[in-house]
């Protein structure tokens, strides 16, 4: 049984007129001890997936489909149960959380507060844990008393991750956790995740717009485009031989240290407006391989020849 399972999850935000389908019929799962990477451009619905798993979507959102954690239906949990489920079972490092620290309270005190809010730990004990967590994420322990503005951007992000780890959850959802970090710290975070996964069996859902980040850490990779899951598969397959033209384009958009720099290309155009989607395949207006059928019929997610599942007419039968 997968640890977390999304089945035909759809999330629509109510707008002044009509709805905006931010997530459209997405099914995926996170198995125990696995790192599932979710990649895709800004606005494709990655954060919305994360918010639905924690059930912290704004009131204007309408959710259909199912979210199950350890077999238990998350969407119908009672309030009490949800409170226990968040943080203790599933923790979230929200997007931009490094800037969410209260500027007038030391970072350590904020972690202590979070710990003591959920557990009956003494002040001493909580501070000890906070220091430990700082060490764990690579910030010198004595800087636990620093105020947010005294830490560099990278340090703040690491502190935010430390905060999420404070109650030893089973699944940690990281929303763009390394976006503001440099390569070395990013690598440290990635290896830290690998270590936690190995030693504590923690599972991760790792959301990013930078596919290359997922290269080493993810066991499986899911790529989203305009609210749809367009390709999902084992990481090595996704990186060695991506099937969907969008996955391929994402790979090419990353300037790398090695390899041919002239191959680097930006993806032309912009993602579609979710309130007025193109007919057929949503990627077709930007797709170099688009043909007649693509603008008429929406492709379904089907097994590709390489071993992933892809939603593309060129890939499916």
């Amino acid at each position: 049984m997968p640890l977390l399972e999304l089945k035909n999850l759809s999330v629509a935000y109510r707008l002044q007129k009509g709805y905006l389908m931010a997530v459209d019929q997405v099914s995926m799962e996170v198995n125990e001890g696995e790192v599932l990477g979710i990649a895709g451009e800004s606005g494709c619905g990655k954060s919305t997936v994360a918010l639905s798993v924690l059930r912290i979507l704004p009131k204007s959102a309408r959710v259909t489909g199912a979210v199950a954690f350890g077999g238990e239906d998350v969407l119908t949990m009672g309030d009490e149960r949800v409170r226990a489920y968040r943080w203790k079972h599933v923790a979230l490092v929200p997007q931009g959380s490094m800037n969410a620290f209260d500027p007038v309270i030391s970072v350590g005190a904020q972690i202590v507060e979070a710990i003591r809010l959920h557990e009956s730990a003494g002040k001493e004990e909580a501070w000890r844990r906070a220091r430990e967590l700082f060490g764990l994420v690579g910030i010198p322990k004595e800087r636990v008393t620093n105020y947010p503005h005294e830490l560099s951007g990278g340090m703040k992000q690491r502190a935010a991750i430390a905060m999420a780890l404070s109650l030893s959850p089973k699944l940690v959802i990281l929303d763009e956790p390394t976006t503001a970090l440099d390569v070395v710290v990013q690598k440290q975070i990635l290896s830290l995740l690998a270590r936690l996964q190995r030693e504590l069996g923690v599972s991760f859902m790792f959301i990013t717009h930078d596919l290359s980040v997922l290269a080493e850490v993810a066991t499986r990779v899911a790529v989203m485009y305009a609210g749809k899951l367009v390709e999902v598969g084992p990481a090595d397959v996704m990186f060695r031989s991506p099937s969907h033209p969008y996955t391929q384009a994402l790979m090419r958009a990353i300037p790398n240290v090695h390899g041919d720099i002239s191959q680097v290309k930006s993806i032309l155009g912009t993602p579609p407006d979710l309130t007025s989607l193109p007919k057929g395949c949503r990627f077709s207006p930007r797709c170099p391989h688009s043909f007649g059928r693509c603008t008429v019929e929406e492709p379904r997610l089907l097994p590709s020849t390489t071993g992933s599942m892809a939603a593309c007419h060129l890939v499916g039968g």
Binding site: E41, S42, S106, G135, V137, G138, I139, P140, E142, R143, T145, N146, Y147, E150, L151, S152, G153, G154, M155, T179, A180, L181, D182, V183, V184, V185, Q186, K187, Q188, L190, S191, L192, A194, H209, D210, L211, S212, V213, L214, A215, E216, D236, F239, R240, A249, L250, M251, A253, I254, P255, N256, V257, H258, I261, V264, K265, S266, I267, T270
Partner: protein, 326 residues
């Protein structure tokens, strides 16, 4: 202090040091050294990359260069003239010649100003394009130059733009007064991967067209490679290595440069073992080489005293007693 560049230095810092006092508990204060005795020059017409991990002092360096911050000691020279002792009038001129694009496109535009106002502001301040009409034309030209449709965006507020569009506005704003030097502090790090190349290509094109000198701050060596002629590697406020981009990436001399290179995630396969030197963040800084606590090649000499940046081989500069290929 040629450091592998050529021609004339446009901007130069000499023995620059900057420290901040940080609180350690309620009453204790301690000084965090952000830049420590750093000397570096950007040559006219080049794009110089400043690369280093989080907290290495890159932003601090940029803030000193645009005079948002006064260094504790050291010199800043622009075209050979001292920047720190400028009169008000000289400072106005300097502010026109040196512009900056900030890291966070979501925070660096005034939320209460339209795109139009934002691009017009520097023109007004520096009395460029005197009358309303020619100013209007100039704003339109600038907005179009950065690849935006003036008609569609000029009356929009920042929150109505995507991150990439905002960064384009910031670039238009910076270029409005035709600066000689543009400092870009991680201009794409907060942008979507799909938008990054677009912005980088735009900056490359504008640099060529306008003959700008660029100081490009990034922690992404891939981006630096795409963009820079020369790369300066910083670690904890010190310069570790300076070299031409290809040479630095192909054959790093400093162990820290190598660590940076090895940290780049490699698509398609697990890279070399990740650096586990997590707990080794050495504060307070050791007397010796700042990188020595994390350096796999460190010897006693490295811990005893800090090496200066020296020419290791032809036009290769590194601050290391035992550079990797010698």
């Amino acid at each position: 202090m040629e450091q592998g560049g050529g021609g004339r230095p446009l901007v130069e810092v000499r023995n620059l040091s900057v420290g901040f006092s940080a609180s350690m508990g309620f009453f204790k204060k301690r000084t965090v050294s952000a830049i420590d005795d750093l000397s570096l020059a950007a040559w006219e017409g080049e794009s110089l990359g400043v690369v280093g991990e989080s907290g290495s002092g890159k932003t601090t360096l940029a803030r000193v260069l645009v005079k948002l911050l006064r260094p504790h000691s050291g010199e800043v020279l622009f075209k050979g003239e001292d920047v720190l002792t400028q009169t008000r009038k000289e400072e106005r001129v300097y502010r026109r010649k040196v512009q900056m694009v900030f890291q966070d496109p979501y925070e660096s535009l005034n939320p209460r100003s339209t795109v139009w106002d934002a691009v017009e502001e520097p023109l007004l301040i520096h009395h460029v394009a005197g009358d309303r009409h020619s100013r209007g034309e100039m704003v339109e030209r600038l907005v179009a130059m950065v690849g935006l449709d003036p008609g569609a965006v000029k009356h929009k507020y920042p929150h109505q733009l995507s991150g990439g569009e905002r960064q384009r506005v910031s670039i238009a704003r910076a270029l409005a007064v035709s600066p000689d030097l543009l400092i870009a502090d991680e201009p794409v790090s907060m942008l979507d991967v799909s938008m990054r190349i677009g912005i980088l290509d735009l900056m490359l094109e504008l640099k060529r067209k306008l003959g700008l000198t660029l100081i490009f701050i990034t922690h992404d060596l891939g981006v630096a490679r795409y963009f820079c002629d020369r790369i300066a590697v910083m670690y904890q406020g010190k310069l570790m290595e300076v070299a031409r981009t290809e040479e630095l990436l192909e054959r790093p001399l400093h162990p820290y440069t190598k660590l940076l290179l090895d940290s780049v995630p490699v698509p398609g396969g697990a890279g070399p073992a990740p650096p586990e030197a997590v707990d080794a963040d050495p504060r307070p800084a050791p007397a010796g080489c700042k990188f020595s606590p994390r350096c796999p090649y460190a010897r006693d000499r490295c811990r005893g005293s800090a090496p200066d940046l020296t020419e290791v081989s032809r036009s290769r500069y590194a601050a290391c007693y035992y550079p990797l290929t010698s």
